[in-house]
Symmetry: C2
Subunit: 781 residues, 2 copies
């Protein structure tokens, strides 16, 4: 294989469609007789429903139907859990699923109570005000610690507590290690994550074809195959009767994996019931309470160290806010638990978490998916240890890095993919070195910072390390086919939310088959075009689907060579692929175009031999034995105004090892976007709930997203440690950028303001000028 | 495998949908912004186009566009011939393809000149009258023999004659055989076939999705895959950008295989050009001139026999009316040439045909596809031989039947599938015996006929034999999948025009997987649901697609058993399938439902092992090495009124061997329908062209179709000689009913009227009271 595209910064194939407005998004779907839906959502966080009167709404002109839980009857019986709890001894897991329309209680602001279907969205929205809902409000469960107090209000009475889950995982014997430690540092950390705020909110269009008994759903989901399977089960249909199309989606980031959102369940049911197509597009206000968040954890963590800064063990006990329901299982807190271990040798680990039901929107993964919580804890502990032990912050990290010869490195505890947390490969020190060099760390801490301080400037440096488990199973598939026009068709089951699949997958195919990368037409996220798969999440697209694409391409390559060798009556070894054709090596002019071979591979006379297939096509699946572990180091120079506490990032460095790189341009985009969201998380975005469980800043006027002015240019560096777990050696990179930004901010601000000397520690995220001011006031107070 | 459905007369799964109006036909497709098309067709058979002025039509309110050949430019460049000429030495084949809109000349009445696209069909039709076409009429080529005279009018000037093709095929040495013969009988035969007259005429809806660059076509075609491939090539699209859906189609019968009809080419082009969907539904008047016919041949044939009635050889020279273009190649005359040999030992054969261009609609296969022409010739020759040699008509047939131990029997000449005409298996004599017994032949000819004649009744008996080459390649495929609800999904590439695929294919699956036949959901004729294949024609559905279904089912069965053996931790041998579940033999209560196994086969945690596939699914292809040969005997008692020449069929017997029978109910329906069309061909349906090339009876008021009053009840019998060419042993049965009806009518009428004694021979089809009267008058002269 002559590599021409793999590893090159190929501009994205999909951008022309996106930039010229030719990419289909869910709201672009128009159908004859299309109806529109709007949802009546709870305005209170916790209440018993006494009565719902929809008669006035039904009487409004243009309203076609109004449904409440009563109308749904037994509809919505979730099948076997999509995300079952991992096989961990002693695990407690109380799974409570949301129903599409609230039955007896509402459990968070925004929970749907009724749905109006009308000839227009305007009419539907107006009719919401006609619905009379009588509620008996209940004390809301908001605070994580108070939620666990006895005799408090219960989100789910039948659980008898607000415990969603309780999990302890251990490695070694922390108590023994702590007993021998020279130093033990113990802190409490608050880490709040926010919402994903994609450019495109959620949306669903459902259409029922009664003649064909065929349901079609356009959905902003990240997991069309799961939606297809689940809907079929709920509606009593075969999977082949349900087609889910996740077209271009304007950002996913995790919350769009959730299965099922009420609207995804309601609209297909309505389309069948009314035998008319129906559309719902989430508005931005709804998005704040109707789409899942990630939110907060409270960690009580301690680290045991030797005098020279070696980690002997870590103990962590944390609370995790699950929200009102926990359909997504334990992915987020398990990720926190596992990712806390970072790139470090941690011989003893004792981690316990309690996931807590609260009267807030459901928590599911959002880019990073709980990893940043864990990384914040370990990175902050190391910062504090460095200070106490008088070791440089970079140096203490270096001393604890897992050595290059220790891979695969088994952390023994169970990861979200149910496999032991074993890092497949890595070489961490060069990554750290590269980042330190790029930020000119040594010179900055020894000289530059003092110079700047002398000029009255408060500039700090920070460096933070992380690992990320990526590319988990179960599998994805791909179908590659040479068409008669010489273009190559590629279909895979995963959808796209901007990750560049149309390009990076095309690169893989183009190299294997020797065609122009622009001649590979990619179809994703349409269950009729590719039936099997899981979805785009967990930084797994390139690893799992990418390798399936590669496997399918290899088989097609073999078919091409076989077909050409029959055509030329020569040996396969004498042939080479390139420029969309097969040529005989060293015989100028002896070549045949792939399109012609494709036609020859589907003869219309004669027989296709038994056991063979027509055409130059192959469908292959790839499932890695376990996830691949990416890693990286972020470093930052940050200046802060000590009066206003406004920050400016002077330099931002990311050095990253995600194994083999398919397209550095797309990778850079992933890193950029991740860091931008990380910066939002670290300094700007905070979901502010009051004691009533009301989200106080539920609009983009109040919920502060970083803009292009807040997000700096980044300097990117890579090292490559190929994963041994897949033939291409790739690891995932989708989430990494967002993960270590919190501790980096805290560390840099502390350094810039010299807070260490004032014994002030930043143990919470997000920071913000306001919050930072409160912390400083409190400390000074 | 416990057979429960295979071979049983299962009622049809599809009938509920059809009878309740839930089956989608092309005209049911409604789309937002749908436009409608109407075509301006030539009113003359042969003319040069001087000018076309569409300005008035364009000015009509509601007209969106009017196109002529000029607008199409270079569009429509057919690729490699779909039906290339067979590899026969010395073959002449002048292929001339129709263009979608006539360019310089019109060559038959009904040829499209312009297409109007308007907001409604009404407007479009009205606008046709606004178009001003100036023509210079040319002498039409109508008569087959005069067409070949020198210096006559030429349908295609560049061919320099009206010869479409010239083919000679020989077996043995006829001249040598004739020289030694005791008797030689030579006659001239005219055999005209008619049109298929399906309940649903043709129709096309085309939709272009500009965002997705995706074309969807709903088409009454019998060959959606070919249409997809051809359109993609013509439009410069990849095949994956084109979806062709042949939904339920109200009768195909052959003419709907034709690729391409102008409308199939025009509507997609228009949909793309206007970026709006467009519909055209053929009206019944159009159907007479815009859909292909089969029409006539003139045979000069002679048979050489020994004294005892053994065939020594046959020589046949015939003219075949190809119509104005010959896109479909030589299938019809090759079938005539090959099928003439019948079930008889014909040691020497010399057959030559000339296909002739005429200014009439294009000729392509119609149920029987030229076979009835050949069968008419051999069966009539044997009748005349019997009379001359004083041998009973049934007896002379019996003496010449290929003996049961002679199979496979190679007739050496090349068949339409490019393979030598080798009969795979058969046992002909029992078929003849069974038919003769059913009609009580011996008693009738010795006693009954005389009794009836004495009563003044003119009743004749007839018996005719035929073979039919069926089930040709190249291949079909099928995808079988167990769904989580336990139902089985089956998809195949061929479409349905009423053949019962939804049932017979379901029976195959149901038996293999042990499920209820109603739990097998079948999808056909949608290129997005199944990509590869050829189509429904040539009596090949059950043979080729049916065996693919069987192969795929077998693989799924193995997967089910493997999955269940892992589930139960037992040996596959201990398991049995039935009632939609797998049970351990002899262990009551130990069973697991197929749907549950399907879910287990697609785990969402853990990895799918490399080289394996998720789910209980398999796609398999089947391509027979060559066609399977079915055979049969029809026998009939017919009464005729010697004054009015009206006939009444007193008894109709079909004994048929199509190998293993999947569903005798469906098979009976196929035979019934075939015989009905055969009766129409033999006695009622005649396409009457005048010297100007005008079809004089182009309406169902004038073109006489047999109704349920004319079509008798039939007595059906079967013998089974499984085909060795496919694992199920099936042979095709779709066309057989229609094939031998012509000679049966001629023979019965001769017998009823005692024409033999009057030396009157019926050597033409269709007969009809009028035509028969002319023949008798001419003979009585």
């Amino acid at each position: 294989m002559t590599t021409r595209y793999f590893g090159e910064p190929i501009p994205r194939n999909e951008d022309r469609r996106l930039l010229t407005g030719q990419a289909l998004f869910v709201d672009d779907v128009e159908l004859p007789g299309l109806l529109h839906a709007a949802l009546l959502r709870s305005q209170v966080a916790h209440a018993r429903i006494k009565s719902i009167d929809v008669s006035a709404a039904l009487a409004r002109k243009g309203v076609v139907a109004v449904y409440t839980a009563e109308d749904l009857g037994a509809y919505w019986q979730p099948g076997p859990l999509l995300v079952p709890p991992p096989p961990i001894a002693g695990i407690v897991f109380n799974q409570r699923m949301q129903v599409p329309l609230a039955k007896d209680k509402v459990r968070h602001v925004g929970e749907p109570i009724a749905i109006v279907v009308a000839e227009s969205r305007y009419i539907a929205e107006d009719a919401l005000a006609d619905i009379d809902v009588q509620l008996e409000t209940l004390p809301p469960v908001v605070d994580l610690e108070r939620a666990l107090e006895k005799d408090g209000s219960l989100v789910h009475e039948d659980v008898r507590s607000n415990v969603s889950a309780h999990v302890r995982q251990c490695k070694g014997d922390y108590a023994k290690a702590a007993a021998k430690a020279d130093h033990i540092i113990r802190r409490r950390f608050h880490y709040d994550h926010g919402m994903s705020s994609p450019m495109e909110t959620r949306g669903v269009v459902a259409q029922w074809d009664a003649r064909a008994s065929q349901l079609t759903i356009w959905d902003t989901t990240q997991a069309p195959v799961f939606v297809r399977n689940g809907l079929a089960a709920m509606l009593g249909l075969g999977e082949r009767q349900v087609r889910v199309i996740a077209p271009f989606v304007g950002g996913g980031f995790g919350p769009k994996i959730m299965i099922f959102y009420p609207e995804e369940v309601l609209l297909p049911w309505i389309a069948i019931k009314l035998n008319r197509p129906v559309k719902w597009i989430e508005d931005r206000l709804e998005h704040f309470v109707a789409t899942t968040h990630e939110r907060g954890q409270i960690h009580d963590a301690e680290i045991a160290l030797s005098r020279d800064g070696k980690i002997l063990g870590i103990k962590d006990v944390f609370l995790h806010d699950a929200g009102a329901y926990d359909p997504y299982g334990l992915t987020v807190p398990i990720n926190s638990q596992c990712t806390l271990l970072g790139p470090y040798v941690v011989p003893n680990y004792d981690s316990t978490f309690t996931a807590v039901f609260t009267n807030k929107p459901i928590v599911t993964p959002y880019r990073g998916a709980g990893r940043q919580h864990g990384v914040f804890v370990i990175e902050r502990l190391l910062d504090f240890a460095a200070r106490e032990l008088g070791i440089d912050r970079a140096e203490i990290r270096r001393r604890n890095l897992i050595p290059a010869d220790a891979f695969p490195y088994n952390n023994e505890i169970i990861y979200q993919d149910f496999a032991p947390l074993e890092y497949d490969s890595g070489n961490y020190e060069p990554v750290l070195d590269k980042a330190l060099a790029a930020i000119d760390y040594a010179r900055f801490v020894t000289e530059e910072q003092k110079k700047l301080r002398a000029q009255g400037r408060h500039v700090g440096v920070a460096v933070a390390c992380y690992v990320e488990g990526t590319g988990i199973g179960p599998y994805e598939g791909a179908r590659v086919q040479v068409q008669a026009n010489g273009k190559v068709s590629l279909a895979t089951g995963i959808g796209t939310q901007g990750q560049g699949h149309f390009t990076s997958f095309a690169q893989i195919v183009a190299d294997q088959l020797g065609v122009d990368v622009r001649d590979v037409d990619v179809v994703t996220g349409d269950t009729d075009q590719f039936y099997w798969g899981a979805g785009t999440f967990a930084s797994r697209g390139a690893v799992v689907a990418g390798n399936a694409v590669n496997e399918a391409s290899k088989v097609v390559r073999e078919k091409i060579l076989k077909q050409a060798s029959e055509h030329f009556e020569c040996a396969v070894e004498d042939l080479e692929l390139g420029s969309g054709q097969v040529s005989i090596v060293g015989v100028p002019g002896k070549s045949v175009r792939l399109g012609e071979l494709a036609m020859r591979a589907n003869p219309m006379r004669g027989a296709v031999k038994p056991g063979t297939e027509p055409g130059l096509e192959s469908t292959q699946y790839f499932g890695p034995p376990k996830g691949a572990t990416a890693n990286g180091v972020h470093a930052m120079l940050l200046e802060i105004d000590p009066d206003t506490l406004m920050v400016q990032i002077l330099k931002y460095v990311v050095v990253h090892d995600c194994g083999t790189v398919i397209n550095p341009l797309i990778l850079a985009g992933q890193i950029h976007g991740g860091v931008a969201q990380g910066i939002g998380n670290a300094y700007y975005e905070e979901l502010m709930f009051n004691e009533e469980g009301q989200l106080m800043n539920a609009s983009l006027a109040d919920y502060l997203l970083p803009t292009s002015l807040e997000v700096p240019r980044m300097e990117l560096g890579h090292t490559v440690t190929p994963s041994p777990l897949n033939p291409m050696g790739v690891k995932g990179a989708g989430e990494a950028g967002a993960i270590p930004v919190g501790p980096l901010f805290a560390q840099a601000i502390e350094d810039a303001l010299g807070l260490g000397e004032r014994k002030i520690e930043l143990c919470e995220i997000p920071l913000s000028p306001n919050r930072l001011w409160r912390v400083l006031s409190r400390a000074d107070g």
